[in-house]
């Protein structure tokens, strides 16, 4: 592929490399993971689609479409660091608490962001962090409750500069 239309060629190469890098990266991370003694369940295997990710978390359960507060900016100028706050109003007692909050970036090459595990000693089912968003996409949050039920929420974030490093 000689560089007559160099700019365009480069652009295409970046895309091809991006995909291959991702696959190699996934392989490498599995190799690394194999050496680790305590393999944390969900977040470690590269998951490529939001459907696959939700299936792993929900199984066949039908989540309620309310109850999760997902605070994200409407427009993120820098996709490398997008702040988010995730919370569920819960008494956090032994009988009724949030067991886990999962957050996914539906349009990232790897959709996993993080899974947070709570106990009644957490006092409050809320967490704040910062995520990478490769492009404009839906951010999806799932809460797993102690009674076996699930909640789901999603918000679109418009991203000006993507944040997955090439």
């Amino acid at each position: 592929m000689p560089g007559v239309r160099k700019a365009m060629t480069q652009r295409m190469e970046v895309e091809v490399v991006g995909r291959r890098t991702f696959l190699l990266g996934a392989g490498a991370s599995l190799a690394v993971a194999a050496f680790l003694a305590n393999l944390p369940a969900l977040a470690q295997e590269p998951v490529r689609s939001i459907d696959e990710a939700l299936k792993k978390v929900l199984g066949d359960a039908k989540p309620a479409e309310s109850g999760i507060t997902l605070e994200v900016p409407e427009i993120a100028e820098n996709g490398n660091t997008v702040p988010f706050t995730l919370s569920v109003d819960s008494p956090m007692t032994e009988a009724s608490h949030v067991k886990a909050l999962h957050i996914f970036a539906a349009g990232n090459p790897q959709v996993g962001v993080a899974s947070y595990i709570f106990t009644p000693a957490s006092g409050k089912a809320a967490v704040s962090s910062r995520m990478r968003l490769a492009r404009t996409q839906d951010v999806v949050a799932v809460a797993a409750l102690s009674d076996g039920k699930f909640l789901i929420g999603r918000r679109e974030v418009k991203v000006t500069i993507g944040g997955c490093g090439g």
Partner: protein, 108 residues
């Protein structure tokens, strides 16, 4: 390779039964495994994959982290204060590097 000391903010004093916020920040590249260097080599994934927070030896919060979390990860969460004691926060990355930090909590 030694890691920078994490930054942790907890209240100086709290009341028993109070729900307090804990803020943490640690320096880490959080390499996704998606990137390649100029000479075409894959930069292997190295992220902090697990964070745990314990109080007096009991784990009360944990994060399983995927590559979607930004570099130098910030994390804020809560705890219901059972009494005086000591926090222990632990970050573990793909390379097996473990960062641990202890912080006391007084009642008052």
């Amino acid at each position: 390779m030694s890691a920078a000391k994490p930054r942790i903010r907890v209240p100086e004093k709290a009341k028993v039964g109070e729900v307090i916020e804990i803020k943490t920040l640690v320096q880490h590249v959080m390499e996704t495994g998606n990137r390649k260097t100029a000479d075409g080599k894959v930069v292997p994934r190295n992220i902090i994959n697990t964070f745990t927070a314990s109080f007096n030896g009991t784990e009360f919060f944990k994060a399983d982290v995927a590559p979607g979390i930004s570099a130098n990860p910030y994390l804020a969460f809560f705890m219901k204060v059972p009494g005086p004691g000591e926090f222990e926060f632990t970050w573990l990355d793909d390379a097996g590097v473990k960062i641990s930090q202890k912080t006391p909590l007084a009642i008052g």
